[in-house]
Symmetry: C2
Subunit: 134 residues, 2 copies
DNA sequence: ACCACAATTGACAACCGTTATCGGTATCAA
DNA sequence: TTGATACCGATAACGGTTGTCAATTGTGGT
C-alpha cells in the first residue's frame, strides 16, 4: 500500500481514485488553496473530480488532522499538515505559509502552567509577519 | 472621555450610539458570539442596532485588533481581546474560551529562531482541551 | 473471478452568513 | 450653527458551502 492510500486509510477513508488525486496534489503542493481553487487546479491539470468531492474530502482530512485549515475572508484554505508539533509562518504580504518545527517548541510549550482542571489536547500557533521574498 | 469612547477612538471609529452599545456589551460579556448572535442579544436587551452595523463594527474592531476572531463552521465569532500577549484556552466540549497571559510567554516566544528575513509582526496561540467545568 | 452491498461520486439546487446599496441621519470641526 | 463627512439600517444581492439522490465504484466474502 502506497503512501497516499495509507494516509487515506489512517484517516478512515477508502482510497478512491478521486481522493488519491486530491491527496497526491496536497502532498506535492506548497501553496494553500481553498476547495474552489483546488478544484480548478485539478481540472486544469487534466483530472476530473467533482466540486462536492473536493469539499467532502478536504473536510474529512481536516477532521482527521491530516490538513490544517486557514480561514480567509468568507472562505477557508487547506494545507497538508506537517508531522509533529509545528508553528505556521504566515506572510501578511504575499500570503505564503511555511511550517516551522524548532526542537525547543515542545519544551517551551510544556513549561507553561495552565489552570487546574484544564486538559490540553491540542495547540496551534500562527506567526504573522513578512517573509524574506517580500 | 469614557473607556468605551476612548477604545473606539483608538480604533479610528467615531463613538456613535450604536458602536457604544456594541463595545459596552463586548466588554461586559464573557461569551464569544457571532455577529448574528450579538445582534439578537442586543435586541433582546432592548437596544436597537441594525444587523449591518453589527457586522461593520465587529469587522472594524477586528481589523483594529480590539477583538479576536474565532472561526466556526461557516461563521465567525468575536471576543474582546485581552491587552498584551496571551493565549486562548478553548474548551472542545462546551466551547468556552478563556484568555491566558503567563509572564513567561514573551520569553518563550522570543527564544525561537525564525528563518532569516522573516519579520515577525504578530502571533496567535490557541490551546484546545477540556475545561474544568466539563 | 464473481457477486452483493455499502460507500462514494457529481451535477444540480438550496441554504445562509456576509456584503453591497443607497436614501436618510448623526457627528464634529470650523 | 452649519456644512462636510461619516455613519446607520432596511433590503437586495452575492457566493462559498452543504444537501439531494440516481448512478457508479470499492470491498470483503463466496
Ligand atoms: Mn500545519
Ligand atoms: Mn484574544
Ligand atoms: Zn511574502
Ligand atoms: Zn468546557
Amino acid at each position: 500500500m502506497g503512501e497516499v492510500a495509507g494516509l487515506l486509510r489512517r484517516a478512515g477513508l477508502r482510497p478512491t481514485t478521486q481522493r488519491r488525486i486530491i491527496v497526491t496534489d496536497l502532498i506535492d503542493r506548497t501553496g494553500t488553496p481553498t476547495a474552489l481553487e483546488l478544484h480548478a487546479l485539478l481540472r486544469d491539470a487534466g483530472h476530473r473530480v467533482g466540486l462536492s468531492t473536493v469539499y467532502r474530502t478536504l473536510g474529512a482530512l481536516a477532521e482527521a488532522g491530516v490538513v490544517h485549515t486557514f480561514p480567509r475572508r468568507n472562505e477557508v484554505a487547506f494545507r497538508r499538515c506537517a508531522d509533529g508539533p509545528h508553528q505556521h509562518l504566515i506572510c501578511l504580504s504575499c500570503g505564503r505559509i511555511e511550517d516551522l518545527a524548532p526542537p525547543q517548541l515542545d519544551a517551551a510549550a510544556g513549561s507553561l502552567a495552565y489552570p487546574a482542571g484544564f486538559t490540553v489536547q491540542g495547540r496551534r500557533t500562527d506567526v504573522y509577519g513578512v517573509c524574506a521574498a517580500c
